[in-house]
């Protein structure tokens, strides 16, 4: 079993089981190497500060490893890690009062638009433009869009991560897409929509 873990790529579940069984740091290292860059990139994307993102990455991994025994395997390990990451960053932003209520039922001007913007319209935005737009919309909206389109999380997984109902998440995503469209039009003109 041990040799297999070294020779082939061990699954996350195998690494977790081995780490819990032995507490050996090499299993920790493998999981860390696999996910640290993604966790950091999410942190910096939401917190917009490299030092804060590094501290957050450290705290998040500590949290992950101290709670590793609680990972039940109901979702993918990556989804579990990203849930911890999003919640940590959102809490940090809340505490820092950078944004008073990240997931409030915001009374938005764009909110109650009946028509659904197709996913393709959002996914076709060029990477560079997408980065600019995502930095302009509220962090709560950015987070749900990243969960849905970057991490392929289902509505159910997002709702569990944020402790919101599925219908609230659907509405949040719909509004977030409208905000993306609005910012796109403001900055890059309306041609692509």
């Amino acid at each position: 079993m041990e040799k297999t873990l070294h020779r082939t790529k061990a699954s996350d579940e195998e690494l977790i089981a081995k780490y819990l069984e032995t507490q050996e740091s090499r299993y920790f290292d493998q999981l860390y190497l696999k996910y640290s860059n993604k966790v950091f990139s999410k942190c910096i994307s939401l917190l917009k500060n490299e030092a804060l993102a590094q501290d957050a990455t450290q705290d998040i991994f500590l949290k992950i490893f101290l709670n590793l025994a609680k990972f039940g395997g109901k979702s993918k390990f990556s989804t579990w890690i990203y849930s911890i990451t999003y919640n940590y960053c959102i809490d940090l932003i809340r505490k820092g009062k950078k944004e008073k209520n990240v997931f409030s039922e915001d009374i938005e001007k764009v909110a109650d638009v009946a028509e659904e913007i197709p996913d393709s319209a959002i996914l076709e935005i060029e990477v560079k433009k997408l980065k600019i737009i995502l930095d302009k919309i509220p962090v709560g909206d950015k987070a749900v869009l990243l969960m849905k389109y970057q991490d392929d999380m289902s509505i159910k997984e997002i709702s569990e991560t944020l402790s919101k109902s599925e219908s609230a998440i659907k509405m949040k995503i719909k509004r977030a897409k409208h905000k993306v469209q609005k910012v796109y039009k403001e900055i890059f003109a309306a041609r692509e929509f």
Binding site: Q23, F28, D29, K38, I44, F65, I125, L145, Y149
Partner: protein
């Protein structure tokens, strides 16, 4: 095939700084906590016993046997003689 959100993540990951120092710090914090946990596990029963004795209580020897530390505990006299199973 990756969508543009995922490509954006790839782009951002290309600019991630060296995180080995963070890795070392996380590992140290975990090991520190594990050490504290082991120390507590080893000595807490003894401290509780001492406290009970100081306050005039009696230590239930059978209970003490159950609560004694894991293999490798410092005081061999306290270690259960008949294996780990309680009772």
């Amino acid at each position: 095939m990756k969508n543009n959100f995922q490509r954006l993540q790839d782009d951002e990951m290309g600019r991630v700084p060296d995180l080995t120092d963070t890795q070392r710090q996380v590992r140290q914090r975990i090991e520190g906590m594990q050490t504290i946990g082991q120390v507590v596990e080893l000595y807490l029963t003894k401290i509780l016993d001492a406290f009970v004795m100081m306050t005039g209580g009696e230590i239930d020897s059978s209970n003490r046997k159950q609560r004694s530390g894991p293999p490798g505990s410092i005081n061999k006299n306290d270690a259960p003689s008949g294996g780990p199973s309680a009772g």
